[in-house]
Amino acid sequence: MSEALAGYGLVKKYGSATALAGVDVAVRARESLAIMGPSGSGKSTLLHVLAGVIRPDEGRVMLGEERIDRLGENRLSALRRDRFGFVFQSGQLLPELPAEENVALPLMLSGSRRREAVIRARRWFGPLGLDGLERRRPGQLSGGQAQRVAIARALVVEPDVVFADEPTGALDQATGEEVIRLLTTVTGSLGAALVMVTHDAGVAAHCDRIVQVRDGLIAGRRQSAVAPTRNGAAS
């Protein structure tokens, strides 16, 4: 299977500090990749470079056959909207929008009609265990529920790649486990790749592969010991 997303020889410097010192990394469709590392290791920079948020100083980022690290800002913005999904630690949901409209927002941004966008958004509530919460606002949801809404929003555009940045950072362990299991299985069932930054080994263990980043370099790669079974069925 070809790579959904790949970075080759990625270098990124901030002034004299080197965040990435030549990193090669790739993830296939349906595959999940955890990026681990201590604070300041460059793992977040790596995620942002792969997601087209930051331009690398050297190296290439390939989304399928397309080189994306030299695209213009508007083009990249559209790419992030339509072909990537993002799940962050917290604060990504608009507090005044009901859950279903938060999920529908990316579709509306891409030009879908509102009615259609909301109908498509609602389909994600069942599989993510959010039935009955469609009209709740983020403030009325628990932390785990809010993260599942965020996952629905990341997946609703049926992206090629989902990026998750410490998605369980604000949750207790049991809730975090639950959220991460949903994130990996649902992403996989959609046929998308998952790239996740975490410092939690327990969370990383749910991914197919783990890379360790240290001082801007890949310090280790391994298959996850407890990689979950992926059913592989594209939705």
Binding site: H48, I54, F86, F88, G91, L94, E96, G139
Partner: protein
């Protein structure tokens, strides 16, 4: 003390952005204090100058020492207050009135500087001839004057002079004519005379219109500062500061910034005082000293505004200081109660019933106007909430949907942002259409001389003939009638219909003076004097409220927009990172102010226009939509508002530009 020292240290190390935020907050505090001080100055100044004017109305004392007679004549339509004084024989000498060096002796004339200038400027046949003409005039000093523009003459007489003795003792409440035996002039009257009747009321109206928008502005500046501070304080909290300490530090810093800005505003008030004093209000411009509020009020205003800013900053920060992870958990959105609608409908019903009854008088009309404002203030948040829900149901574009949801999420906040302009819209709508100047009796070109039966000997017809001779001699074209059917006359007398403009009217007033000894001829200006003055002041108050309302509303809309960007920078940044176009966020932010602004301010402007047309038809004058001025007001208001909101675009760009910044 410790936390204050720490606060200062943190404020100094806050960096360039920190200072910019402080500067903005301070500027808003300065504007707030400046406007409040100006309002207070006009209110207090109106009282002070009323005291300066009080001596002209006689205060009866049967055992008094002199006769004082007040009358009013008009030149070019402007009232001239005439005070005639006569020392009673065999009584102790009377102390001179304020502003006069001596008690005026028979034949002496004291003039206010403005009247003296006018007498030099106009031909004697138009003005000077109405008064005795001594070899030289004395000047009334500042102590006896309410305004440098006032037209006043003080004339010395003998008690038997018909100019005094034939004047009526009162004019049925009009307050422009009065006669009494007095013992002196030292008084601070509750009623300074009908030309000043609306001075303080008008100032109070301006206060009522502007005080809420000004406090909203101060509060917005507090919020802005708090959003700037949040990041540093979140760090402090992690370092172990208690929420109480953080609140104290925030309060101290916001108070200090607010007080610094407020002091600058107070200084600006001091510097602008001579300029502001030149702005006419009522009888004319001000003596700068009358507009000086004194150090106690100055300090009180500074403390008030700094306090509002500090409280607003602390309440804005409370969430952050209390929530463990700095995540603002929003509870259920505020709901506005339908009770607001009920209150509004009751008030509107009452207003409708009262207005349809007519005969409200100035006081009644004002009360109703204030009730209108109150009703609107009550209704505003409810309307914003409904607007948000309705638009939220039908919105198709994401920017509109975001704006609608914001409106129903925090209707009170959205209302606060636009309430200033909504009120200003009402004033603009009302003032640009109301033909208030035409209220009252309308007998243009008529000059009347009242003849009471006591003037026996001559018939009214004889007097009419004499009047014709006098007018012809003065070169005027006039028709003189004795006891005409529909005229200015309240009683018996003659009426001359003058052909020509103000100069001819003034000539007629002058030549007919003394036709009947001691009886002053008058025009429609006399009966309308109090209404004309009130209307003029309403216009001045309306215009000032409009101008200052725009200033505060636009400033606070801009500050609120900036504070909102800072409050929500994390969400905005993550949205942008996920590919949301910046333009969309800006569009949504503009909509969320524009929608309530257009609908509510547009609504109140229309209401103002409607109220004014009703008033016009009630008093039977024609409708004149001063469309140009209204359009200009609306345009200026809208441009100012959107410029203010647009000013936070670079801020949004800046806070979202670096999506990879660590959480703050």
């Amino acid at each position: 003390m410790n936390s204050i020292a720490l606060t200062w240290k943190l404020a100094r190390t806050g960096g360039r952005r920190g200072w910019q935020g402080q500067l903005l907050a301070a500027a808003a505090a300065a504007i707030s204090v400046l406007i409040l001080l100006l309002l207070l100055a006009v209110y207090l100044g109106a009282g002070t100058r009323g005291d300066h004017a009080a001596w002209r109305t006689p205060s009866p004392d049967p055992r008094g020492t002199a006769v004082q007679a007040l009358s009013t004549t008009f030149v070019r339509g402007t009232p001239v207050t005439v005070v005639q004084l006569a020392q009673l024989p065999d009584r102790p000498a009377t102390a001179p009135p304020p502003g006069l060096t001596d008690f005026s002796q028979p034949g002496e004339v004291y003039l206010s500087p403005a009247l003296a200038a006018l007498i030099r400027e106009l031909p004697a046949g138009q003005l000077a001839g109405r008064f005795p003409r001594p070899a030289s005039y004395h000047t009334i000093g500042r102590a006896g004057l309410a305004s440098p523009d006032e037209l006043i003459a003080v004339i010395g007489r003998t008690p038997a002079d018909p100019a005094i003795s034939s004047l009526p003792e009162s004019d049925a409440g009009l307050g422009l004519t009065a006669r009494a035996v007095v013992s002196g002039f030292a008084r601070t009257a509750a009623n300074p005379g009908s030309l000043f009747a609306f001075d303080q009321t008008g100032a109070l109206m301006a206060v009522g219109l502007l005080v809420v928008p000004v406090l909203v502005l101060a509060a917005a500046s507090g919020r802005l500062g708090a959003a700037r501070r949040e990041q540093r304080l979140a760090g402090l909290r992690l370092a172990g500061a208690t929420p109480r300490q953080i609140l104290a530090m925030t309060g101290a810093e916001a108070f200090a910034v607010g007080a610094a800005g407020a002091m600058a505003g107070a200084a600006a008030y001091g510097l602008l005082l001579p300029l502001v004093a030149r702005v006419p209000y009522g009888v004319g411009a001000w003596y700068p000293g009358d507009l000086w509020v004194g150090p106690a009020y100055l300090i009180a205003m500074i403390v008030l505004i700094a306090g509002v800013i500090a409280v607003s900053a602390m309440s804005a920060l409370r969430r952050v200081a209390m929530a463990p992870l700095g995540v603002a958990r929003q509870a259920d959105p505020q709901r506005t109660r339908t009770a607001r609608l009920v209150v509004f409908l009751v008030a509107a019903g009452y207003i409708g019933v009262r207005a349809s009854q007519g005969n409200l008088g100035i006081g009644g009309t004002l009360t109703l106007m204030l009730l209108c404002y109150g009703a609107y203030l009550t209704l505003g948040p409810w309307v914003v909430d409904r607007l948000g829900r309705i638009i939220g149901r039908f919105a198709r574009r994401p920017a509109m949907l975001l704006a609608a949801r914001r409106l129903s999420d925090d209707p009170r906040g959205a209302w606060r942002t636009v309430s200033g302009l909504v009120l200003a819209g009402f004033v603009a709508g009302f003032c640009s259409v109301a033909q208030l100047g035409a209220i009252g009796a309308s007998y243009p070109g008529q000059v009347a001389v009242q003849v009471t039966p006591a003037e026996g000997g001559q018939t009214v017809e004889d007097l009419a003939a004499q009047a014709r001779d006098r007018l012809r001699a003065a070169g005027l074209i006039a028709t003189v009638q004795a006891d005409p059917d529909d005229s200015l006359l309240w009683d018996s007398g003659i009426v001359a219909q003058i052909t020509g403009g103000p100069a001819e009217i003034d000539t007629a007033l002058t030549v007919l003076t003394g036709l009947v000894p001691g009886v002053a001829p008058y025009t429609q200006d006399l009966g309308n004097a109090d209404i004309t003055m009130t209307v003029r002041q309403l216009g001045q108050v309306g215009f000032a409220a409009l101008l200052l309302g725009f200033l505060t509303a636009a400033t606070s809309a801009g500050l609120t927009a900036a504070a909102t960007v800072l409050d929500r920078r994390r969400t905005y940044r993550l949205l942008r990172l996920a590919g949301t176009p910046l333009a969309l966020l800006n569009r949504a932010r503009t909509w969320e102010t524009a929608v309530p602004l257009v609908i509510l301010a547009g609504g109140t402007t229309a209401l103002g226009v409607f109220a004014a047309t009703r008033l016009n038809s009630m008093v039977g004058t024609g409708q004149s939509t001063n469309a140009g001025r209204l359009a200009a007001c609306v345009l200026v208001g809208a441009v100012a508002m959107f410029a203010a909101i647009g000013a936070s675009r670079p801020l949004l760009r800046a806070v979202t530009a670096d999506p990879v910044r660590a959480d703050d």
